[in-house]
Each structure stands twice: as C-alpha cells, then as structure tokens.
Amino acid sequence: MKAPDLLELATRNLRESILRNSLTTMGIAVGVASLVAMLSLGIGLQEMAGRRLSRSGLFDTIFVTSRQDFRGFDRDEGRDAPKPEELRALDQSAREEMAKLANVVEVFPEIRLMTEVRYEGKTNFAFVAALPPSAREIEAFEEMKGKFFSSEKAEEAVLSDEFAKELSKKPEALLGQELVVRYAERQPLAGGNGAEEGEDPAGFSVVRREQKLRIVGIIEREPYGGLRTVSRGRVFIPTALAEGLNVLQFSDLRGATRDQSDRKTYTSLVVRLANPSQVLAAQEAIKKMGFRTFSILDATRNMRRFFAILDLFLGIFGSLALAVASIGIVNTLVMAILERRREIGILKALGASDADVKRLFFVEAGVMGAVGGAAGVALGWALGRAINWGTNAYLARQELPPEQIWSVPWWLVAAALAFSVVVSLVSGLYPAARAARLDPVQALRYE
C-alpha cells in the first residue's frame, strides 16, 4: 500500500475507537509534556547561568600586559632575560594585531585616570574609568538609572551611585547636568621643544586639561563585579572618548625612563572574545606575540558539565511518564488486533501482504506518537511557562528582578516530537508483528 493510503487507513482506524485511542494519545502527551517541561527548565536554568556569566564580562576576556612592565617579578626569566627594550611594547601595532585574531570581538585599553571633578563650584577627587560599548551588556547597567552612553565618543558620563550621592542629595536630579573633569594630558614634544641641545629629544610634556561631561546615568553596582581596575571608577566615560583625551598613564611614566618613551604604549589591553570557550586559544596566540596574559579560567566548562548531568536526570525523570505511556500504546494496539481480527483477515484476503498489515499498525502507533508528541510539546511548553510565571510572581513578591528560568529551543521541540514517535514505533513493534502473523483463514472463519 502507498504511504498516503496507509496513513488514511491508520487515521480512520484510530478514529474508530476514538475514546480509547485519545486516552492512549493523551498518555503520550503527558509523557512528552513532562519531558519537555523538565528539560526546558534544565535548559532555561543553564541559559540563565550562562547569561549571568557572560554578563559579568569576566569570562570572555583576556587581560594583556607588556612583559616590560613586570620585568624582574618573574624569577624564571633569570638573568638571560632580554632587555626591556628588546621586549615587545604594548602599542598600537600590537593592538591591531590582536584585533585580527580569530573570534576577537574587541580590543580596548583599560583607562583609569585620576581627576579633579568640578560640579556646582565644588571640587572632588575621583577616578574616571573608561568603558567600551560592550559594557552596556554587563549586569551593572541592567538596572541603571538613566541611559548608557549615546555613542562611542559621546562626551557623557555615568556616575557611581556613591559618587552621585556625594555630589548631590538628590542623585536623580544629576541626570542631564554637566560636570567638568580636570586631568593631565600627555603631549608629545613638538620639534624637540622642551629638550635642550645635545639632550635626548625623547619625552613628553604633561598639560592640564579640562573636559565637560554630561551626566547620563547612575549605576548602583560596580561594573565587572568589582574585579577589574576600571571597576573602581566613580565616573565612567566611553573608552573611545578617553583614548582621545591622551591622558597621562602610568606606563608613560615608566616609558619616560626608557628609550622609546616618545612612543605611546598601553598599560594593559583587554581582548574580548565572542565566547568564553575561545579564550584559551586566543590567550595562547597572544602569549606567542610576546605579551603577558591573564584570564579567569573557563568557568563555563564546569557549568556545562553540571548542567549536562542535571539535564540527564531531568530527562530520565521526564521519560518515565513516556515509558508508562508506551505500555499504553502496546495495550491499545493489542486490543485493536483482537477487535479487528476479521478486518485484518479481509485485508489479507484482498491481497494485503504481511508487511502491509505490519506497516498499518506501525503507522497507527506512529500517528498516536506524533499527535501525542505535538500535544505534549504544547502542554510542556504551557507547563514550563506556568512554572516560569509562578517563579516570577514569587520573585516579584520578594522584590527580586524577574528571571527567565525556562526555555524551549526549537531543537527540544523537534527532539521531543522525534522521541515520541520513536518510542511509539518501538511500542508498535510487537503488536504490528502479531497482527501481521494473524492467519487469515482463522480470522475469516464464519462464526
């Protein structure tokens, strides 16, 4: 028989004992629903944890420093170590090279400067720290008051909550106001200017500068969980803006004593990757370029292992209901054989082969599996949503921010459907074989 005919006959047969078959199908649906609900929670929790980790902005980054700066701290380098000037400087060309490495999303310097902040005639000392555009994604900015920087070079500032309170009794009122930061700019010596005859012209001058900034936001938490140099800033400005300011950096002072002091170098660079799992490879590549690197170990690897085990257990518990449902399928189909003995005999007398009969029962099992699977996915989805909603209602009562603890990715839908059909087909194996073996002479004997 052709597939469409088989399917039509099978669905017709299923409709004949609609109640019994619906109950069996419902059993499968409940089984699939429990599987989907369990796994969607497992996956949801995993995604939530992953989101937290990636938003911390710590696990997808490599901190790069020049080996020049730390020379002497490293004992194993011994006395044969290359001279500082032979070591590669962390300069613009190095930065460009790192940006070209595979999977690198951005490379930016960590800039922190000591400034004098003037607001409404009062002066405060404050560290200004620069943040890249990607910082918008990190946790600290999730619940900020106001907005993130409007552009990469916007002359705008985000204040720490603490600092905002120092500036004003009503921190919210600061939004949109202007403040002025005064800082030290590093200026190259123009045409040997400042260097006397016969002296080494290398060096730079330091000039006092002022920059107006409009306050656009206030954050409560320290960015990057307080684990980075820039975390402890009190005023945050866009990295590109900070770079343009040519602020005098610690490395400049060190460099001033060296030969290449006229070249601008970075104290440290942050290399951000698309995914935490890419950190190790990139770190190796940067080490080969001759720099010192540091990264927080790939924490996601252990997390993934934990969730794989969690999902496995959730899956096993979820599958139990499906296993029970599969016994229901066997029962229903064996009953159907008893009821449809004569019909099977007729089919055979009309020329249906054993294989045709077997396939018919198989398709019936498959249809129950597919329908039950689809209903189960819908039910499981609804169940997961309900659990998510309930959790968030609870979180809201505890005055905690909402969380997405539930996720049904498309592959879970496809896998649950496929699993349901496969389980049903396996359950149909025995009944189908039994139906195919039925002796038509016995089945058609007139009673």
Binding site: M1, K2, E16, L347, G351, S353, P440
Partner: protein, 242 residues
C-alpha cells in the same frame, strides 16, 4: 478432458492435502484431492460442513498452504510462493466473496470497493472510475456513499461482489455466498455471479452446501466428503448453459 479444459486450465490441483493438528489429534481437512478447473468455468464445490470444501477454496485463494501436493493457478504453483508473492497473487488474480459479506462496517460501499485498489497501489485518479464501474455492474451505483449497515443482505453481498471484481481478477472464489440470504436473494446473487462468469469470462469456484441452487447455476460439480473427492455428477445442471 472436457471441452472447457482445452483452452487452458485455470486451476490445476494435484494430490492436495491439508492437515491440522488440534491438540493430540491430526485433522485431515483435505486428503489427496486432485482437481482441474478450466478457464472461464463455473465450478461448484459441494459437500456437507466439514467436508473440506472451504479448505480447498482457501488453498486456491492463496490464503492457506497445502501440507502436501501442489495447487497451480494459471501455471504458477502457489505452494512454492513466499507470503509476499501469495499476497500479490491474491491482489491481482483472485476475488473473494464470503458468507458473512465481510465488508468493513466503518467504510462506505465506495470505500470498501476501493480497498483492493488501494492495496494494489492503483493510482488515485484511476480508482474512482473503477469503483463506480464495479458498483454500477452490481446495480449499487446509487448507494456508493452508504455504509454496509444501511443495506440489505443481498445488497451487501452485491457490494462484496463489486469489491471482488474491481481489480479485474481472473478467478472469482465464493465461499457460501448465499448462506446468509433468503432463497430468492440467493438466486439473484448467483445470477449475478453467473452473469459475471459469462460476460467477463471469470473462472468461478463456488463453495456451497445447497445442491439445488448450485445445480441451477454451475456447469460442473465436485463433491467433497471427509476431505476427499466423492463420486458425483461432473456435468452442468439445467441452468448451466455455456
């Protein structure tokens, strides 16, 4: 050999036996029967119940296999066919009619008649015409959409005949087709079978225990008793004109 066999034998059974085992005892349902049926013949298998006539019919129908001996239909030995080949044989060569009609109650007449075509994987577009034609031939074209339960016994059996002939088989096998019908309806049914035998040239093997009825329609009789051929008339009755 009589005249009908000369144009080729449709059925050629040699020394066919079919034994069953029921508990400790062996039942010899059929015991060394040899039979020749010519193409286009209308043969009646007569005998009391348990004589083995239905067993013989089932062997000819390819629903059962002989314990020993051979059953050749149109030159092919059914005993040597595997189950797939037997199914194909049933699909294309035979049409069966039963005492209990054996229509599928949940299907309309058209769907019942369509069933052999589905099994034979006839193209969907072709099927509707064939179904209509078969039902027209048995006079049930107007009742295509009815279910078997909405019809009289005679109509159900006519529908079963339409189902048996829709695949244009060369062999029509009828197992007590009048057993559930009153005598007048029974005659109508056998009249229809006879008509198909003559107009379509189908070879008919009719199993019945109603000898008078068989005598009116069949051209040749074979008597079975206790699984063996019994002595008896081999010529046609008054109604058995060629």
């Amino acid at each position: 050999m009589n005249a009908a066999i000369k144009n080729g034998s449709a059925i050629h059974a040699v020394n066919v036996s079919r034994h069953y085992r029921m508990g400790q005892t062996e039942v010899r349902a059929l015991d060394g029967v040899s039979l020749e049926v010519a193409r286009g013949e209308f043969l009646a298998l007569l005998g009391s119940s348990g004589s083995g006539k239905s067993t013989l019919l089932n062997l000819i129908a390819g629903l059962d296999r002989p314990t020993s001996g051979s059953v050749e239909v149109e030159g092919r030995d059914l005993a040597r066919m595997n189950s797939e080949e037997l199914a194909r044989y049933r699909r294309h060569t035979t049409g069966m009619v039963f005492q209990a009609f054996n229509l599928i109650p949940s299907m309309t007449l058209a769907e019942n008649v369509d069933l052999p075509l589905r099994i034979a994987e006839v193209e969907r577009g072709e099927r509707e015409g064939l179904v209509r034609e078969a039902l027209k031939r048995v006079g049930l074209e107007a009742r295509m959409g009815h279910r078997p339960s909405e019809l009289s016994g005679g109509e159900q059996q006519r529908a079963a005949i339409a189902r048996a002939l829709v695949n244009r088989p060369s062999l029509l096998l009828a197992d007590e087709p009048t057993g559930n019908l009153d005598s007048q309806t029974g005659e109508e049914i056998l009249g229809l079978v006879k008509e198909l035998n003559q107009s379509l040239g189908m070879t008919v093997v009719l199993v019945t225990h109603e000898r008078p009825l068989a005598e009116r329609f069949a051209r040749r009789f074979v008597f079975l008793a206790d699984g063996r051929l019994a002595e008896g008339t081999q010529t046609g009755g008054p109604g058995a004109g060629a």
